[in-house]
């Protein structure tokens, strides 16, 4: 070591430096985990096998489409939500003709991640272990493809959802106009944070029953993460790319070569409360040993749907009855999904309640156009209640 080195070694000796901040370490860990490249994950062989086995059942081939519908509807407000008055950030959202993104249904840590390719009013949605859904929003129709089985089925998704699904990007522009008419909906600046290795600026829009957070690249203003809390449903959109070249055949509603089209078109447009009760009943009876689930959310439904399919298939009833039951469950999922879509106030209170308990409420929701609530109890009977008389 020469004199200069000795001098510097002595000079720097004992100089204090900031210690690492645990908060930053934990926050960065979260960000890294959420951005961990999905294509590098070990394939979930077991899950895939179970799913394939289930899908070979005659009844589940069709009824499983219900779970796909739940996911399909999650993203309807995706771009619709991204409509706030910070022009630079929303500009690409408004003007993009194509988009490619990942959509997390539920929480960042546990939610299901689906991959979307959007071309105009059509979406190609790839759902892990559940195949592909091509959604034509203009015509409220969906084509579900099951690559392992090479089967296809058309699904009618009109009814209450039709208005919201008419035009994906068009809907966005409508809502922009809507927001301009509502200056009372505040847009709050959230400052900066690092997201997936990019410095991002955040904006929070709070409207009635909607909280929309958009994180955009601090330099380019390109949106990099959108979090939409609508009612009680959280959707996170990330890995967003706008106006990328897309092979339009990917969103074609034609049956791909080599696929067999199921002759019966599914119709999930006519659903009601009774269908949802069927879901609750079978969820408690066949999945949880007679207890209602701790929570009910889109994420919960996506996770339980394959299990329910399997349980239904094991029941000692005819194939036709299994089919009817599976369809009822699919409609039940639709009923649940539309509550947030319509902004209906609902509460799940079934944690710890046993199936058959006539005195304890499990689920309650406000009736459309009325001040009263419908309350589903543990024995699955339904009562109408005023807000004052709601069970505690």
């Amino acid at each position: 070591m020469n004199d200069n080195e000795k001098y510097i070694e002595e000079f720097v000796k004992d100089i204090p430096f900031d210690a690492p901040d645990q908060k930053h370490r934990d926050e960065l860990k979260k960000q890294l985990m959420s951005a961990f490249p999905k294509h590098r994950l070990e394939p979930a062989v077991h899950t895939v096998e179970v799913w394939r086995k289930i899908m070979k059942s005659p009844i589940t081939k069709l009824a499983a489409a219900a779970a796909v519908i739940v996911v399909a509807l999650v993203g309807v407000h995706l771009l619709g939500g991204g409509t706030v008055a910070f022009a630079d950030v929303i500009e690409p959202i408004l003007n993009a003709r194509t988009a490619v993104l990942d959509l997390v249904v539920g929480s960042e840590e546990t939610g299901l991640v689906v991959h979307d390719i959007i071309v105009g009013s059509k979406i190609r949605r790839t759902i892990p272990n559940m195949g592909v859904a091509i959604i034509d929003l203009d015509n409220a129709r969906m084509l579900r493809l099951d690559p392992p089985e090479k089967s296809a089925v058309y699904i009618d998704i009109q009814g209450p959802f039709q208005k919201g699904m008419k035009n994906y990007l068009g809907l966005v522009r409508d809502i922009v106009a809507d927001m301009e008419n509502h200056p009372e909906w505040p847009v709050q600046e959230l400052g900066q944070r690092w997201i997936d290795g990019q410095r991002a600026v955040g904006f929070l829009l709070s409207g009635p029953k909607i909280k929309l957070t958009i994180w955009a690249d601090a330099e380019t203003a390109a949106p990099i993460r959108i979090e939409l809390l609508m009612g009680q449903s959280l959707t996170i959109i990330k890995n967003i790319e706008f106006d990328v070249p897309v092979d339009e055949s990917l969103v074609s509603m034609d049956i791909p070569d080599g696929y067999t089209l199921h002759e019966k078109e599914l119709d999930y447009t006519d659903f009601d409360e009774q269908d949802f009760i069927v879901v609750l009943q079978h969820w408690a009876e066949h999945v949880l040993g007679g207890n209602f689930p701790d929570s009910v959310s889109a994420e919960d439904i996506l996770k339980v749907a394959p299990v329910l399919r399997q349980k239904v298939d094991q029941l000692n009833i005819s194939d036709e009855e299994k089919m009817q039951l599976g369809m009822a469950m699919g409609r039940g999922f639709m009923f649940f999904r539309q509550l947030d879509f319509k902004g209906i106030d609902w509460h799940y209170v079934g944690k710890g309640v046993e199936l058959g308990d006539a005195n304890t409420a499990v689920f309650l929701y406000k009736q459309e156009g009325s001040d009263t609530y419908r309350v589903i109890y543990g024995d699955l009977h339904v009562e109408v209640s005023t807000p004052e008389d709601l069970p505690k």
Partner: protein, 191 residues
């Protein structure tokens, strides 16, 4: 390799496809990376920003790493060095860094424990002197005197010949000493 090194090498391989293993690897190395960035940048926010960049780069490029755990530290520090130098390369950023350094010389961070006024003064002088050097000289100084790396280790880390690193280190230490001496003699104003 020791059993621990074998286990850690196995962890690195696993971390390519297993988020849990990657999280474990991250936690093992976060403090080291942060310290390195902190000693290069002298600013907590910048150090955290660059550390974030480093780990995202590590996550995306881990598949290309095929060495042992011993090489991993060098690999990590090389990524960190590049990230820090990228950060400093931007002239405006550099000006900002120096400006913040000058304005914050006596500001003691809440994260610094048990230091005295004299050491803080020395730190302020070191910040100004070191940040005024070329990034490559800053790099070898930090790796040599804070990371306690040997010449050959620094060379491996930077992918340079040991003779090149020796030459850089010699020039870097001479320049730094000159600046520190001048600063000390002028009470910190002449750098």
């Amino acid at each position: 390799m020791t059993i621990s090194e074998v286990e850690n090498t196995s962890l690195i391989k696993k971390a390519c496809s297993d988020p849990g293993a990657f999280a474990q690897l991250y936690l093992m190395h976060y403090d080291n990376v942060f310290h390195y960035c902190m000693r290069r940048l002298f600013n907590r926010h910048s150090a955290e920003d660059v550390a974030s960049t480093v780990f995202f780069k590590v996550m995306h490029n881990l598949g290309s790493f095929d060495g042992t755990v011993i090489d991993f530290r060098s690999w990590l520090l090389r990524i960190a060095t590049n990230a820090v130098n990228d950060h400093l390369r931007d002239a405006k950023r550099r000006t900002d860094v120096i400006h913040r350094v000058v304005t914050n010389t006596r500001t003691q961070s809440v994260f610094v424990i048990g230091c005295n006024e004299k050491l803080l003064e020395k730190k302020a002088l070191l910040k100004q002197a070191l940040l005024s050097l070329k990034p490559k000289y800053q790099t070898v100084i930090t790796l040599r005197f804070f990371e306690n790396m040997k010449l050959t280790e620094i060379a491996a880390c930077l992918g340079k010949n040991p003779s090149t690193v020796r030459s850089w280190l010699s020039r870097a230490t001479a320049k730094l000493r000159k600046k520190l001496d001048a600063a000390v003699n002028s009470g910190g104003s002449k750098l």
